[in-house]
């Protein structure tokens, strides 16, 4: 075998490995962003328009988002069986439990502060999770947190609209980008 053939073989190896990692990262990720982008869009609109009464809307939307995520996750798990699945579930459970405990300690919070707390907690989860699985998620987490803080400083009375269109809309657009471009 000469050097040219060896180079071609190593290129085949590199491409096959990269395609595999990308296919696994892609499976489900785009749909997760679209599902939770829609939850944020509708939830934050409800928070802006209904105020304190939006809690029930958030509860219903979160339940729907959870069911839809479980369906997408199970479909993705059929294609790739991984030992990492339980770690991912445990990670989000830990984030939510710690968030719940912090909320309990600092309560009561006003509606806007509660919204910001949840937004920063979830974006922190994305960023941390991104360090582990994908730089795209890290960027999405940091970007969402930066947008939220900017809206809090510049448009304090309209944070619900701000997070609905930029946070939720951005997640939907990012999910669509993943589905269309990560091929």
């Amino acid at each position: 075998m000469d050097q040219e053939e060896a180079l071609q073989s190593l290129e085949l190896v590199r491409q096959a490995a990269a395609q595999t990692r990308q296919a696994i990262a892609r499976s489900g990720t785009g749909y997760f962003f679209i599902i939770w982008g829609a939850v944020w869009f509708l939830g934050f609109l409800a928070s802006q328009l209904l105020g304190e009464r939006s809690g029930y809307v958030w509860f219903g939307l979160d339940a729907l988002g959870g069911v839809a995520s479980a369906v997408v996750g199970l479909r993705a798990a059929r294609r790739v069986r991984t030992t990492q699945g339980w770690r991912m579930g445990l990670f989000w459970l830990i984030v939510l439990v710690y968030g719940g405990l912090q909320l309990w300690i600092v309560s009561p919070l006003s509606g806007d502060r509660f919204m910001m707390f949840i937004t920063l907690l979830v974006s922190f989860g994305y960023a941390l999770f991104g360090l582990w699985v994908s730089p795209h998620l890290l960027g999405a987490g940091i970007g969402t947190a930066a947008l939220a803080v900017l809206g809090w400083l510049l448009l304090p009375g309209y944070i619900g609209y701000w997070m609905a269109f930029l946070g939720g809309g951005g997640m939907i657009a990012f999910g669509a980008y993943i589905l269309l471009r990560w091929k």
Binding site: L7, V13, A16, T20, A23, I24, R79, V80, Q84
Partner: protein, 108 residues
């Protein structure tokens, strides 16, 4: 220096091994996932996987999901070691080092 492995050297099998080696240890992929990823036909992929299984390089497991059979493929320990040595041999060629003659065995 490591030898080139004639079983892995065949391009389709090299791609299969590279794809499986990119998984985390203990992970496996569905046959259809691998077929679509590498652009192979069912028959072609099946034949290459059987060859790799004969050599002990991959593990195939069949499970039933909603009464439909699904085949999952993963790299064995022996396969991982053989693939690593094959890649080392390829890198050795690029490094200008001499490579020992390939081990016997026909390409399928």
């Amino acid at each position: 220096m490591a030898d080139l492995d004639p079983v892995i050297h065949q391009p389709a099998r090299l791609q299969i091994m590279a794809a499986l080696a990119a998984l985390r240890e203990g992970d496996s992929v569905e046959f259809i996932f691998l077929r679509d990823l590498l652009g192979l036909t069912d028959g072609n992929l099946g034949a290459h996987l059987r060859r790799l299984e004969e050599e002990g390089y991959v593990n195939l497991s069949k499970v039933f999901v909603e009464r439909k059979p699904r085949t999952y493929v993963s790299l064995s320990g022996k396969g991982g070691q053989a693939f690593g040595e094959h890649v080392q041999a390829l890198e050795g060629i690029l490094g200008g080092k001499s490579v020992r003659k390939q081990r016997g065995g026909s390409r399928r």
